[in-house]
């Protein structure tokens, strides 16, 4: 019910009704962007941005820097203890 899919905004379709065309893994679909418009994000600013689409509405803009940071953190989880483990294995009794 609450699931959403990331999609890239390709073009503005209907300015009055705030509708854009998105690319959902190769499938083109019209999506309402009223929920991601504000003073810093006007319709034209949205082109090429990634949004989360849920039941035909874009609900949030993907923060690409944060997406990258999460991947970096994921990459680091376990690194420290793996290093400690390796150091432990290398110890001379």
């Amino acid at each position: 019910m609450c699931l959403g899919v990331p999609a890239k905004i390709k073009e503005v379709v209907d300015i009055d009704n705030q509708i854009v065309l998105v690319d959902l893994s190769g499938v083109k679909r019209e999506v309402n962007v009223a929920c991601v418009l504000d003073s810093s994000n006007r319709l034209d600013d949205l082109i090429n941005k990634w949004v989360l689409v849920h039941v035909g509405f874009a609900l949030s803009i993907v923060d690409e820097d944060e997406a990258y940071k999460t991947l970096m953190i994921l990459d680091q989880i376990g690194e420290l203890s793996a290093t400690i483990e390796e150091l432990g294995q290398g110890e001379v009794e």
């Binding site: 609450c2 699931l3 929920c35 609900l59």
Partner: protein
């Protein structure tokens, strides 16, 4: 798919699972019982079973499947009201597919459709407006349900109907709100959940501040979590780190989409169109004050409850159903008397077997064999 595939890397999953096992071994269990993490959202339940994450956890850590599947908590009486509306000759009844199989007192919407009722599954409430415009002589009703994630789309559709004067569009509003629901779980007797996976997509609407009371008043950690396997595992790891350090904080793992302050542009249509109901009856949980949402007076001409003069009646579940106990985490799905016997996804008795996000349906589809072996 970008922003999806990166969060499904099995090598990284193995690394995090190792860290999860290490943390679990360092946390002293209460009364020798496993550490319990409740995933509030049905979307998380689905992902956990789909990727088998529950089977990869150490023995002293378990997921408790929370009440966040809106279809699962629909009371029987609401389905009966849907059927009542849909039986009118001049009505086209529209709904998301999840609600089609939910059993009412005598039948489901799918049964009524098979009997010839004009019931249509839609992807978006905007599709309903298009149907209404195409069928001006029909009353077109949308069954609105879901937590805050789905509310903006319904509210904006009502506002669009007002703007375009689509007077044959009606909303049967059964949206529910997350905070009183989590509070009801926290206040339920015997509750021993150690931490929460916060619902990622609800959080992108409401932000993370509304959860502060969970840490401040109940001293439980909550991590707003994404839906891919690595998102969930990282969030579990974050909760365990807090538990190990004796902390209770609200954290945000899903920072690529969730902001602390939420989404003001999505909250504003909700405030424009809806107001809280004093009481709302949940299947399995009973009545939770101020957990339901209805259309306010300004938009009341679109309110299906008024148009079809619906009554709020309580209809009890069949005696054999133990959905309530499963919802509260007291029983595991396979411990229910009718699980995988009389109650299956094809012929569900209870709502938890109906939606793919329901704990029982997820167990049946993805985890049944392991659980049956463990019985």
């Amino acid at each position: 798919m970008k922003f999806v595939d990166e969060y499904r890397n099995p090598t990284q999953a193995k690394k995090i699972l190792k860290e999860i096992a290490r943390l679990c071994s360092e946390i002293t269990p209460k009364d020798n019982k496993p550490i319990q993490i409740m995933e509030v959202c049905g979307g998380h339940t689905h992902s956990i079973f789909r990727y088998g994450l529950n089977q990869l956890l150490p023995d002293n850590l378990e997921f408790v499947h929370g009440p966040g599947c809106p279809v699962c908590v629909l009371p029987r009486s609401v389905v009966d009201n849907c059927l009542h509306i849909a039986q009118h000759e001049d009505v086209i009844f529209t709904t998301f597919g999840d609600a089609m199989r939910v059993p009412g007192s005598s039948k489901s919407l799918l049964d009524l459709k098979a009997e010839g009722g004009d019931i249509r599954m839609v992807y978006s409430p905007l599709d309903v407006l298009a149907i209404a415009k195409k069928n001006p002589t029909k009353r077109v009703v949308f069954f609105g349900l879901g937590f805050e994630t789905t509310m903006p789309s319904t509210a904006l559709s009502v506002m669009q109907a007002q703007k375009e004067r689509i007077d044959n569009f009606y909303l049967f509003c059964n949206h529910i709100t997350i905070i009183p629901t989590i509070k009801a779980v926290l206040d339920s007797p015997g509750m021993r959940i150690d931490g929460f996976l916060g619902p990622g997509h609800v959080s992108l609407i409401i932000g993370t501040r509304p959860y502060d009371f969970i840490a401040d008043d109940y001293r439980k950690p909550l991590v707003a979590a994404g839906f891919e396997p690595l998102d969930i595992l990282q969030s579990v790891w974050m909760i365990l780190k807090q538990l190990k350090n004796g902390e209770a904080k609200i954290e945000n793992q899903y920072s690529r989409l969730v902001y602390e302050e939420g989404n003001v542009s999505a909250l504003s249509p909700i405030q424009e169109v809806f107001e809280l109901r004093e009481f709302f009856e949940w299947r399995g949980l009973g009545s939770i004050n101020h957990s339901g949402i209805k259309i306010n007076d300004k938009y009341s001409k679109f309110d299906a409850e008024k148009e079809f003069q619906l009554k709020q009646v309580t209809v009890v579940d069949p005696d054999v159903c133990q959905c309530g106990e499963v919802l509260k985490g007291v029983l595991k799905p396979w411990e229910c008397k009718v699980f995988a016997k009389e109650c299956t996804p094809e012929t569900p008795l209870g709502a938890l077997m109906t939606s793919t996000e329901g704990a029982c349906s997820a167990h049946y589809s993805y985890g049944q064999n392991i659980d049956l072996i463990n019985r």
